[in-house]
Symmetry: D2
Subunit: 499 residues, 4 copies
Amino acid sequence: MKELNICLTRESRAAFSNHAAYCVGTGRMGLALQKEYQDQLQMLQGLTHFEHIRGHGLFSDDMAIYQPYTDENGETHEAYSFTYLDRVMDSYLALGIKPFLELGFMPKRMASGKQTIFYWEGNVTPPADDNKWTALVKATLSHLAERYGHDEVSAWPCEVWNEPNLPGFWENADKEKYLHLYEITARAVKEVLPDMRVGGPAICGGEGSQQWVDDFLRFCRDGNVPLDFVTRHAYMGQTPGRKGRYLYHEMCDPSYTYREMSETRRIIDSYPEYRGMEMHITEFNTSYNPFCPIHDTNLNAAYIAALLACLGDVAASYSYWTFGDVFEEIGVPSRPFHGGFGMIANGLIPKPTLWTFVYFNRLKGTPVYRDDKAVVVKNADGSYEGVAWNLCRENQEDMKVTIDLPEGGEWTLLTGTADEESCNPLKVWHEMGEPASLNKEELEFLRGAGQPRNASSLIEAGGKAGLTLGRNAVAYFRLKPVKMQKDYGYDYGWYKEHY
Amino acid sequence: MKELNICLTRESRAAFSNHAAYCVGTGRMGLALQKEYQDQLQMLQGLTHFEHIRGHGLFSDDMAIYQPYTDENGETHEAYSFTYLDRVMDSYLALGIKPFLELGFMPKRMASGKQTIFYWEGNVTPPADDNKWTALVKATLSHLAERYGHDEVSAWPCEVWNEPNLPGFWENADKEKYLHLYEITARAVKEVLPDMRVGGPAICGGEGSQQWVDDFLRFCRDGNVPLDFVTRHAYMGQTPGRKGRYLYHEMCDPSYTYREMSETRRIIDSYPEYRGMEMHITEFNTSYNPFCPIHDTNLNAAYIAALLACLGDVAASYSYWTFGDVFEEIGVPSRPFHGGFGMIANGLIPKPTLWTFVYFNRLKGTPVYRDDKAVVVKNADGSYEGVAWNLCRENQEDMKVTIDLPEGGEWTLLTGTADEESCNPLKVWHEMGEPASLNKEELEFLRGAGQPRNASSLIEAGGKAGLTLGRNAVAYFRLKPVKMQKDYGYDYGWYKEHY
Amino acid sequence: MKELNICLTRESRAAFSNHAAYCVGTGRMGLALQKEYQDQLQMLQGLTHFEHIRGHGLFSDDMAIYQPYTDENGETHEAYSFTYLDRVMDSYLALGIKPFLELGFMPKRMASGKQTIFYWEGNVTPPADDNKWTALVKATLSHLAERYGHDEVSAWPCEVWNEPNLPGFWENADKEKYLHLYEITARAVKEVLPDMRVGGPAICGGEGSQQWVDDFLRFCRDGNVPLDFVTRHAYMGQTPGRKGRYLYHEMCDPSYTYREMSETRRIIDSYPEYRGMEMHITEFNTSYNPFCPIHDTNLNAAYIAALLACLGDVAASYSYWTFGDVFEEIGVPSRPFHGGFGMIANGLIPKPTLWTFVYFNRLKGTPVYRDDKAVVVKNADGSYEGVAWNLCRENQEDMKVTIDLPEGGEWTLLTGTADEESCNPLKVWHEMGEPASLNKEELEFLRGAGQPRNASSLIEAGGKAGLTLGRNAVAYFRLKPVKMQKDYGYDYGWYKEHY
Amino acid sequence: MKELNICLTRESRAAFSNHAAYCVGTGRMGLALQKEYQDQLQMLQGLTHFEHIRGHGLFSDDMAIYQPYTDENGETHEAYSFTYLDRVMDSYLALGIKPFLELGFMPKRMASGKQTIFYWEGNVTPPADDNKWTALVKATLSHLAERYGHDEVSAWPCEVWNEPNLPGFWENADKEKYLHLYEITARAVKEVLPDMRVGGPAICGGEGSQQWVDDFLRFCRDGNVPLDFVTRHAYMGQTPGRKGRYLYHEMCDPSYTYREMSETRRIIDSYPEYRGMEMHITEFNTSYNPFCPIHDTNLNAAYIAALLACLGDVAASYSYWTFGDVFEEIGVPSRPFHGGFGMIANGLIPKPTLWTFVYFNRLKGTPVYRDDKAVVVKNADGSYEGVAWNLCRENQEDMKVTIDLPEGGEWTLLTGTADEESCNPLKVWHEMGEPASLNKEELEFLRGAGQPRNASSLIEAGGKAGLTLGRNAVAYFRLKPVKMQKDYGYDYGWYKEHY
């Protein structure tokens, strides 16, 4: 058994910056029109609270913003429709979440080419006419500012395009064309909303990616192009293999991902003009594939915990891709568990990774402990909260955590645990026979099977708190001095003693 | 002023078959995933109750049922995903409405050609491989039967394709190919669910359309092809003119439409094998265009009332196209009022036509009066209910309705009136300046402005009930013998007399 | 016809202080546990927004705060239960409304006597032991501060007892004993929450009432007793007559009530120490009887409008007694309309007076016009909002309001009107036969009959806005410069012209 | 460790009559007006489904049915108000539950004496005037029949009074007077609704109680008094001790309670006229005291399981007293856990006993196994469902259940377990320090801590299913043949094997 001792007997301070709640990812904006999507987002925001949400496809045709029409004389008029945009934004704001805008992809009727990406066919080519593109950007932001208020909308971060260093996402991964797009777009944004913060280049990792960042920064600096933050992505999946529609790959170690992000941080800081500039990891996850079975596992939950503990060292945010399984990039999922990115499976079934975020998002106090297995914060009321995880990459051992507590009276230990035994709806679904459609009974059982186990114990004065984490468990704990409010005559133990 | 006298002093019986509640239309099935769509449908079913719902696009790619995939060896496998189908069907059944299935359009990867229709690109070409098509039909019905029960699903009517007599909806409007499609599809349906009722040819009107029905019937009879009912559509719009994205056209007289439908009825009855067979008008409305301003008017409500009063003579149902404005055929509407088909505008604003259906759907008693301006039924409890309308095609006159009541005591007259003065959200929106996006305040005002006026009066014994209908008013009335339950000491009139 | 001209062509400033939204009354706190009560309050807060709510019975036995118990040895222990208090406070705060605390009545087991008031038997005698009473007050406030936060609870105003100048509400209307109760209570409040604002004497009007205020102020000044505001009540009902359980009485003129309140204001200001001190009218209405039919009428709505226009001159708030008809003082109402105080009848039926508040609560701009028939404010965006009413005490005339508008372009006039024709559910219920129990159909009809009529018109440049108010109408209007957003090709008038 | 083997390899049939879902108890009818009550009932009916609900106080003054008033001439009139009755009945029927009416207690203004019972002061004396009582009964039933339909209301069972064999519930426990009350009441019921089923004597156990039943039956037989079923209560608490407001007592063995009920059954069957007549246990629980800590424990859940397994042998129903903790008999509970009867604690926290009912209510198939530790039924689809419990009265052992399965393929075993480790909110609350008021965080944790643990396993062909029950565990299991629907390429085990 692994052992971990956390000593809280003396005041100490640990390095831990928690930005887990800053942003979360979403398939594409048009899916936000769906009821199941909204139900999942409401469930998420009810359990925890994210501040921002970022997804693709703001300008894709299913959002139907760009709606030119040809009149009775055959003349074509530029026109925009904000019907769906308003609906999506209204729904986000009603749930207390603000957009982290991603400006893309290209409306078909504005595009220079026909290349598309995904089942839903997002056009990834540059605009045929730059002016039409910037007019679209400006009209959209103006409309938002008019509807939601200038100050409100100015507080939404804004990113230009997605992963232009991949030829699938940006025709030929043409860097020059991206830099040009970035420049005209960033200038258009500032023209309408000078205080809106704009950034790029939204690259994914891989060969040459760090060079992209460097080139991007140089370009902005040399051209005096507006830039408020730098964005990139972080995925851990190695070279994959495929079976049917599913993808399998080994994951790199969290420390590798951390180093990769640190290198980008270093590049940014190497520019005197940009030293300390915010870096936003606008997507991250283990695998980058929406049909990779790891996403449904407890292993995934533990991986993500390891990342949440350290990414705040280098980045101002890291947006889990994605909050739910309403997602269509490689087709519509045909079964509830299919390796989708979501923290929540279709049918409102919680997946283990959901709890990793619920637990981390609670940690708002002063950090007093951090290593690669646990973090602990101390709150103003004297209580402690922490998260521990037992990421099992090479071994199968349980992990025993003991916590030495400050002198004084008794403590209440409350724990929430999501592990392979008690919170593993994937396993239950598998043992049900992997049904493609769930009936009401199965659905309810799976929702129950996705709940973590809440437990408690009373730590006597001078005692130690202990918790044991099974394979890939992610556990939350809260330690609070007990203030006993016993009612005269109430005897908790009577029936325990008599029976 | 026009005058109408309805005499109820003696028992009488009138011809009036009310099938208004049997079926209602919907844009396309994929839109049923949307929250706004579900909110509108819930609002509708809360105000009145429809039994069936019919729309396009069951097999279109946004429903994502046909999901073949290519494996790691490059081999392609047939596969179906019922994720979205289940979600839509679950939501329908939860709202107490059953599908009237329309089998179409063609999944892209199964199609023989590339021709599409609508902004949402429904493929309208025959299958490249008949066997794949029938396999799809059978797999879908089998899945539904397994999920919802054999008997339940067998009770859903099933129609093959939509308007194959238009080249836009069926490549070249090729009649032979449609008849073939009908045959293989109907046989596939019966193979899985022998009791499911299947029909066609779902034609729209226009030149040659009656001939299509005749050819279709002959084909079925001669080939002994399964046929349980005949379907067609009914629209009243004449040759249109266009301005920008909007279409304007004169409407034919309701009596013309009635004669058109009667002719189809006559053709059916001319086949001894099919005499008396159900005819379903699976779409009807004034204009067939989703950007035709008439749909938002009180005029439309009055036209529809005139049709609801008579179509039951010849048809087993007539499905208003469509219940709501979540609709994308010629693009996503860019403003709340745009001439969309819906009874409910986006933002849950009632349009006048909604009340026509709410009122007709209440008429369940024994018909005692009908002409082209009013219908009245008598209920088992001795009360009367009726609807009157004042369709103003050529004149602007108000219409005064007087009702002679049976001898006896006092009557309560309750009326609900939707007319151009009191229930005309379109006018209010126009006078607001035709805003493309509505703020919360405007939205609430418009919702209020779309409510009919509820009023009452007390008819003394031997008196006559009277109601006055303004231009294009549709009015509901209920007449019930008063059973006064006065509490001792309660004096309704005291403050009226003293002030 | 009465005529009223409002001239807005030139900038002007009018005296009008609008505190209508500050506070609203409620039967008794224990009723807030009921679902119907919560539904009515939610409906109210959804239509408009009140900041505070005040009702009786915080310490009455149905709230079960004072729960001493006798142990197995026969010894009695003081004990408090906050189960219901928490539930009520949680529900208020969830609806965005804060309590205006009224400390009373006396728990039976703490009382010095047996005198009770109301069907629900609130004990109105002094405490048998002052220390037990102050301990109860302090324990309650401490608990609230712990649960909701010290600052939050300190912002809730706190009043001592209710109408001690009536022998029914305070044994013998014993002034000395009230002053003593006030002193010990106010000191107890300040001991726990020094920043909580405390006031009295919560008197109702009638003979000697102004003297009570004077005596109360002198007592506080001379004894240096904490006092942050002065409270009293305002009812307009004259000597009543009774029939069965119902009460009928003439109402005094609004100007009489205004003078009565001004006199109290004058008394307060006559004390140098208290000059300008806030006066809160913690209850007001037409009749003070919960079975007085006036409350359900449009007449009542117009009376209240007249008061809302002027009471802000002298008082910091005026709390309508009461928001809903979940009320039990003289027994549980046996029928939906029974002259209850509520703005909302049981079954969620809006009464006319509801709209008076909805309309006044919207008036947040700069006052530009006020007389005894209308008030108008101007908003920052250049729009005007106003309320007009046609209180018919002696005549039956309609009132025609014309509004001269500033030069410039077109204006949109939006109006909401609640009058005897269009928004009079009482009349409909009467004409239904005054049913004691409503079925679903009747209930829905009545809810519709309680909606005001929303209408609009377009005022051409240089034109005048006009509205006509029937008997006892209360009308809201909003005037806004039109910013036409016509879509190319959209022709609102086409179908009006062609039909 | 205890061991239990259940052999399902061969078809067998077991004696087990499951009436657990027939009826559930509730504090008193007036409490059904409360929102928290309705929320708890909705939670209950969402998790499982009860058919009937029975509680006290239909005629008590808080239901305010009997509302005589004195008019302006001093004359008193009989009058009834059904405002609250309608509201309660509407709410029950909306949740799919029907009343099991209990006619009592006495309205104050109709009573012959002043004796009351409970904090809420139910008057327990005979009517001063029999005619007023029967008029009240008849008026109430007539009203219900008019509102809900004659057939619907006739299907609600109806019981006369509650526990008249206790002097606290019926003045002097006067048997003659009860028999008289029963007779006039039963005759009044039949006069209005001849098909309504009426019964008594609703006695509790204890000395002389069986004699009461005998006397009651003889009285009915001899006097030809209407009688459709016999009612009594069953509690297991022995002589109690008290500390503060809490009561503690040993429980008798379930077999003792079973014998007690069998004896009543025997008495009934000893009358040829009444042989086989339905007996309804209209209340049962472990302790009869609402401040007895046993009710919150897992021990209670196990006791109730033992009773549910056997009471159906002798009784047509057994109504758990009570479903929720909105209850006021000995005062309002001052803390969330206080030994209240409810299956659901205030704040919507599930208690262990809730799951006993959820699990038993699922057992609708053919019984194939029963002993005093488990029951199993077989469903039409070949699956098995069962409940097992490990009631620890004298020992502390775990219990191991093994189930031999029929030959064939693999089986899915799904289990839900409520035991002292995993589903014990009482323990968590105790370890939190027994807080009287819960904050949002604590409340959510406790709701989670009240959930059972859902788990699964795959039983290979020819294998045995096994489950282990800790102390006082109640476990549900479902065994279903697996129908594997593996998608090509999906490999559940890949990430388990690689990590």
